[in-house]
Symmetry: C2
Subunit: 384 residues, 2 copies
Amino acid sequence: MTQPLAGYIILDLTHVLAGPFCTMTLLDLGARVIKVEKPGSGDDTRAFPPFKDGKSAYFAALNHGKASIALDLKKEEDCKTFEALLTRVDVIVENFRPGVMDKLGYGWDDLHAAFPKLIYGSVSGFGHTGPDARKPAYDMVVQARGGVMSITGEKGRDPVRVGASIGDIVAGMFLAQGILAALVDRERGAKGRKVDVSMLDSQLAILEHAVAITTVTGKPPGPSGARHPSITPFETFHASDGLFVIAAGNDKLFEKLCITLDLPISDDARFASNAARCDNARLLKRLIEAVTLEHTRAHWIAKLSAAGVPTGPIQTVAEALKDPQILARNMVVDVLDKNGRAAFKAAGNPIKLSDMTDPTTRRPAPDLDGSRGEILRWLENGRT
Amino acid sequence: MTQPLAGYIILDLTHVLAGPFCTMTLLDLGARVIKVEKPGSGDDTRAFPPFKDGKSAYFAALNHGKASIALDLKKEEDCKTFEALLTRVDVIVENFRPGVMDKLGYGWDDLHAAFPKLIYGSVSGFGHTGPDARKPAYDMVVQARGGVMSITGEKGRDPVRVGASIGDIVAGMFLAQGILAALVDRERGAKGRKVDVSMLDSQLAILEHAVAITTVTGKPPGPSGARHPSITPFETFHASDGLFVIAAGNDKLFEKLCITLDLPISDDARFASNAARCDNARLLKRLIEAVTLEHTRAHWIAKLSAAGVPTGPIQTVAEALKDPQILARNMVVDVLDKNGRAAFKAAGNPIKLSDMTDPTTRRPAPDLDGSRGEILRWLENGRT
């Protein structure tokens, strides 16, 4: 039972979300992560609520199991330690504003010349090229500018942000993928590469149907409310006691849905194909709700599930965290404190691999500079 | 200039979104992808609007550059072809309902025994284990059940879906990451692994602050509207002519914001830390808007940008596709038709790598079974 990334070491200069999320997912696959933080306050998210016993649950969820050393890369002594670390690691990851690493003398060109096998991962608001490369960004700026907000929300009302910070998270995921692709190739003999991921680019990359609709029809889609704009029926419906989801993504599922609802319309020309159903989505919604309003959500979810039609409740996060399927998949784990007690809950690792254990706990998140002694000893004494 | 995954071959049995998105991102990094489709109609998304010259722009955006062969895995002749393909590929990816591949005799156990180096990637609604493993799901079902919908939308109103299908896309991205981690390890001598990714698990994995808030406070957050619940100010603000975003993620940025707005409140105890600003978010929003309402969005975006405060417009997808920064990053590419003409626009590759070209066009999406002759010749004559 081995983790696929066991033995790899990542020097992690990132803070807040995109970078730490990236290195967390690599750590969950076996990599060792050494977090380099700014002296004094460290990663901004150490100050993000909510807190428990004075510690940020937000920070703990993203940084469990990482080592921490505080280094000021403008001080000679700290640079020496940093450079010693560079000789030992496989990957360096940073999410500074473009140009910051170059100014410190640790940009890609310098590092690649000195450490040709080193992989250099960078995530920034707008990437290392282009007119806005040096502008700062946070999640909401790229959700807004990249177009995702414009398709999220209710028709005719102001756009809303996606409740999860996908501006950061998706960029962190693309960075992880780029780092791993470079690592695959390095194992075949290639040199290290620079991976340059932009949060704004990453929003573009997930727009899906919206790019097709905009470029083919010339009209950008508006907020999609609670339905998919290219698949019908694929939305929320009212039952007698509230909303639930039906997602009948193809003709066969639509037929099953019609049979289950005792609604003989699957041969009707207006609903005979997905394209036709999209054209008549409003009418179809009313026909379906005229049936679903007669019973509860639980009634319909059970009945449609049994018939093989994709359906489900809209759950709060509290409900999701108690969902039997989610618990059966070990998707809610305990982050331990230094005494081995469960201190925080966090999301588990969604990448389930054969021949790898999927632990139910996570090692503690580090105190700021909490691994200094251990790291310095390791640098002196060779590989641990 | 080489692509890091050049030389790897993926046998891709996936359809719709999560799987095809995964293999598209691996193709963009150099892998060759052979798409196995069901005879007759092929991938469901071939029928998804919008269409241009009778072809789905949606399908083209996800399947450009892939080869296509139609195989019925219940027919002996087609199974022979399929098994010949299995001897040649590095990775197989499928997104059938759990159990389907086993019934066909091509489940993980069978394939791992016959092809120990083969990596087996699977993405499904709920994963291959747990009580709901065999239930079908689509994007909206997992957005709803996984909790993301409950935190997306306006306060006090019904939840909305995320306009992009992140239920599928995020799962496809975790699958790509798992496959690459297994590939890294295989290059070091390990056997192939099974990667089992669930769309529902993947939603849990991106909930971010919502897990921390729910488990620490006991109260799940509701729809976040247009602001981040753990960072303040980090939301949309009204200017004289509409909405724009300000995201001041730390004390330094908040101070810069206050100076730029000529609003001397950064030393006020109610706003002196992020935690305090979160507690007084409503008041702070009003103080800021009392200033921003006096000028246009463009005025404030220019002024705040110059001061280094993260800010930006809310763009439609049409505006995003013309954004100079996005174009400078080659994030809008042309998918060619068989005659080499630009047929569709699609999102580019957000993973920018050194030593790899970033082409401005993509090869055509395949016709159903359009690569049969070429694939059969390749199987007969050895590696191309």
